[in-house]
């Protein structure tokens, strides 16, 4: 069994439909801890000690956030800047996080069509996740494929519910180690294992 830590970052959750629903779906899962960053650190003064302790106590880390300007909201960046210290998370003696798994769970206004070569957003969405991937690499963590909820602006409620359900199933599967890692590493998105019926 793996313990899961969800680092959740949304500055105005009360105005979000999809993130709200996703979060609700996993809220009561045993061995899944949600660390609501904007709620815990409204002043942006992250408790680094606490955050480190949380990281050490979990096997799978999730960055869950909306996609703002092709990246995460500010506080998640602040979290990376402050918590992933040299000599602890990376560097010659920085091996505290080595061997842990990490991936992004994110929502975007742009559809999956928009994130294609030559599309509205010009590049595949993985290109935009490169900074996260390399952050994970530098910390000796295995960067797993993302779980992506695209096109949220025009999403129907029924679809949102489906995504939320799939997300919940994904976390349960990972927690209970039902998905072999070789299989995970072959995926480009976790979505492929937990598909949602799209209207497109």
């Amino acid at each position: 069994m793996s313990r899961i830590l969800v680092l959740f970052a949304h500055p105005a959750l009360e105005r979000s439909r999809v993130q709200h629903s996703l979060l609700k779906a996993i809220a009561a899962l045993p061995d899944v801890l949600i660390n609501d960053l904007y709620e815990n650190y409204p002043d942006f003064d992250i408790d680094v000690k606490r955050e480190k302790k949380l990281l050490l106590a979990h096997d799978i880390i999730i960055w869950q956030h909306p996609f703002y300007w092709y990246s995460s909201p500010a506080l998640l960046k602040q979290w990376q800047d402050l918590v992933l210290e040299h000599g602890w998370a990376y560097g010659k003696n920085g091996t505290a996080l080595a061997g842990k798994k990490i991936f992004n769970v994110f929502t975007s206004g742009g559809s999956s069509k928009a994130y294609r070569n030559g599309g509205y957003n010009k590049y595949p969405v993985q290109e935009y996740l490169k900074p996260f991937e390399q952050t994970a690499n530098l910390c000796g963590m295995t960067y797993w494929p993302p779980f992506w909820v695209p096109g949220v602006h025009r999403m129907e409620i029924s679809q949102i519910d489906q995504y939320s359900l799939r997300y919940r199933e994904l976390l349960i599967g990972l927690r209970d180690e039902q998905i072999p890692e070789e299989e995970i590493l072959k995926l480009s998105f976790f979505n492929h294992l937990f598909p949602v019926n799209t209207i497109e």
Partner: protein, 620 residues
């Protein structure tokens, strides 16, 4: 007469860049018996009265002698100071010995000539902004050592008596004293004993007394006590047959470490200034011009010899102590005169029967002229010598500059000020604190804060707390009227200071803003808003959103405050309560307008959703 002449001549002298000391001296010369003859014999009496100014000055110098400062300057005080005094005394002593004086007399004159004028030099260095340079610090150290050296000199003088004491010349100490008729060695012992007793009494008695008086909170009583201390010690010392100046100096040192130092300083300062002024006038008036006229070349010769020898000794020492050429010249020329102590010591020497009257008269003239010339010498040095000596620009070495003044002054160490103070201290920002509650002062001093007792709206206290060197002043005192008073004081005397002011409420804030304050902090604003944030959060609002709303509200309210301060008519009288209600109404209205759309529109996806939908409908 004295005051009128001072009022007339001191500003004139300052106008011509000669400094106030020279102004007083000139005033004295002109009203003296040899020019206008406006004052005659009573000049002597005034001089004795005004000597009390010197006593006060010594008390103040004593107060300045914080052990910490002494320790930091220990090398230059002991090394530079002692070498200067000893070397100069020996050279002059030798010189006078070989020109036909008895060795005791030669030694006495040598010792007196080794001293420089604290009053003139400090005043000059301060006016020229040189206090923090290496030269300034070195000069200060030497002057300090000289001030201390006066004590053993006074103690040794009775041993040097060679003439029978002529009672007619004995003006000041006409009253019979305990030491009269004692052998020289016993007198010396008594001197040392008295000094020791002042230290003990000052420690045990004066501090609790100050505390009690400070607690009454009446400023006049404190001033009276301060004067009483100085006068009492002076009287006591006179009775014992010692220099009152010495006693005052020791008392000053004893109280230097007390929390009431700044208050004492600012209480005595005006008296000292006035009396010292009188003293200088009296000195000017007592210069014996017929004597000078009868042997002008002797006087002029001595003055030049004196200045040149002193300057040479100082130059040599400056070189040994590795002062740069520029600093060394400033240092040497500034200390090249003989100081006001000479007057005291010469009259003392006269009383003790060390020197005959005519020698003393001649010497006093020489000393007075050397003092009068100092500003001129400094001017020459600046204009003629320095540009030649310093071909290359000598860079200032900030390491050598000793700066014990703090960048921040916090007035009021109550609930408000102490939080600011603790915060700054936790971040290694040193601050000087001023407070009116003697109990608070005591407690905080025990905890290692630099807290001083006193009324922070007085400019003298601010001056001695280092307001001219500080960058920021935090006005956190409790009484709103006092704060306004203080704002005016700071604006007038220390316009360079950034003022951060505590305000009790909106109206207080209006007053302060109308007084030109840019940084006004309402006591209750941030706290009430924090409470509001917590209330919102408890009601289920997201913490970060509540926080942003509060910040937005704060900015909006500050903007509102500025606007209302500008349109408020202070002449208009409306009852406080009605004014409050009317204003709240107005404020609430603007609150509504400003918050109608809500904050942080960028995080609201609604418009994006709308746009996406409309595009869909276009496509279909």
């Amino acid at each position: 007469m004295f005051l009128a002449s001072a009022v007339l001549f001191v500003p004139l002298a300052k106008r011509f860049g000669l400094g106030s000391v020279l102004g007083y001296l000139i005033a004295g010369i002109i009203i003296g018996p040899f020019v206008l003859g406006l004052v005659g014999e009573e000049g002597q009496d005034i001089m004795h009265f005004a000597e009390f100014g010197v006593v006060m000055m010594l008390f103040l110098i004593g107060l300045e002698l914080e052990p910490k400062l002494l320790w930091r300057l220990r090398k230059s005080i002991i090394g530079l100071g002692s070498l200067q005094v000893i070397l100069t005394a020996i050279i002059f002593g030798g010189f006078f010995f070989f020109t036909g004086f008895v060795w005791q007399q030669a030694l006495a004159i040598g010792m007196i000539f080794s001293l420089s004028s604290t009053a003139i030099v400090m005043q000059m260095l301060r006016e020229k902004n040189l206090m923090k340079t290496v030269a300034g610090q070195s000069s200060f150290s030497v002057l300090l050592f000289q001030d201390i050296a006066v004590i053993p000199m006074l103690a040794v003088f009775p041993l040097l008596a060679t003439l029978s004491i002529d009672t007619n010349t004995n003006g000041t100490h006409a009253a019979s004293t305990f030491v009269d008729g004692q052998p020289g060695w016993a007198q010396t012992l008594i001197v040392i004993g008295s000094v020791a007793s002042i230290i003990v009494v000052g420690r045990i008695l004066l501090r609790p007394l100050l505390r009690i008086v400070a607690k009454t909170g009446i400023r006049e009583v404190f001033t009276a006590l301060a004067l009483l201390i100085v006068a009492g010690i002076a009287a006591l010392m006179t009775k014992v047959g010692l220099s009152p100046a010495l006693g005052a100096f020791v008392a000053g040192v004893v109280l230097a470490n007390s929390e009431y130092r700044h208050e004492l300083e600012s209480d005595i300062e005006p008296f000292k200034g006035l009396l010292l002024g009188l003293f200088f006038i009296a000195v000017g008036a007592s210069i014996d011009f017929p004597l000078i006229a009868s042997q002008p070349w002797v006087v002029v010769g001595w003055v030049f010899l004196l200045i040149i020898i002193k300057a040479l000794v100082l130059l040599l020492l400056g070189r040994i102590f590795k002062l740069s050429a520029e600093q060394n010249f400033i240092f040497s020329f500034s200390l090249s005169q003989v100081g006001e102590f000479a007057f005291v010591l010469f009259s003392f020497a006269l009383q003790e029967g060390i020197l005959p009257q005519d020698t003393v008269n001649l010497m006093i003239a020489v000393v007075a002229i050397s003092m009068g010339l100092t500003p001129l010498i400094m001017l020459l040095n600046e204009r003629l010598i320095l540009p030649r000596v310093c071909t290359e620009e000598i860079e200032r070495r900030p390491d050598d500059v000793i700066d014990e003044k703090n960048p921040v002054i916090i007035a009021g160490f109550g609930h408000f000020g102490n939080t600011v103070g603790r915060f700054l201290r936790a971040n290694n920002v040193q601050a000087t604190y001023l407070d009116l509650d003697s109990d608070t002062v005591d407690v905080l001093r025990k905890m290692g804060f630099k807290v001083f007792y006193g009324d922070a709206s007085r400019h003298e206290l601010l001056q001695s707390a280092g307001a001219s060197e500080a960058k920021i002043i935090i006005i956190a005192i409790e009484a709103p009227e006092k704060r306004l008073e203080m704002i005016e004081t700071v604006k007038k005397h220390f316009p360079h200071l950034h003022m951060l002011v505590r305000a009790s409420n909106r109206y207080d804030a209006y007053d302060q803003m109308n007084a030109g304050m840019l940084h006004v902090y309402r006591e209750t604003l941030d706290t009430s808003l924090r409470m509001g944030v917590d209330a919102l959060t408890m009601l289920g609002h997201r913490a970060y959103t509540a926080k942003r709303l509060a910040r937005l509200f704060l900015k909006h309210d500050e903007k509102n405050l500025k606007k209302l301060a500008a349109i408020r008519n202070p002449e208009e009288y409306i009852s406080e309560a009605r004014k409050f209600i009317e204003e709240i109404e107005l404020i609430i209205q603007t609150d509504r307008q400003d918050f109608a759309s809500g904050p942080d529109g960028a995080w609201d996806a609604e418009s994006l959703r709308q746009e996406a939908k409309s595009m869909d409908s276009l496509a279909s």
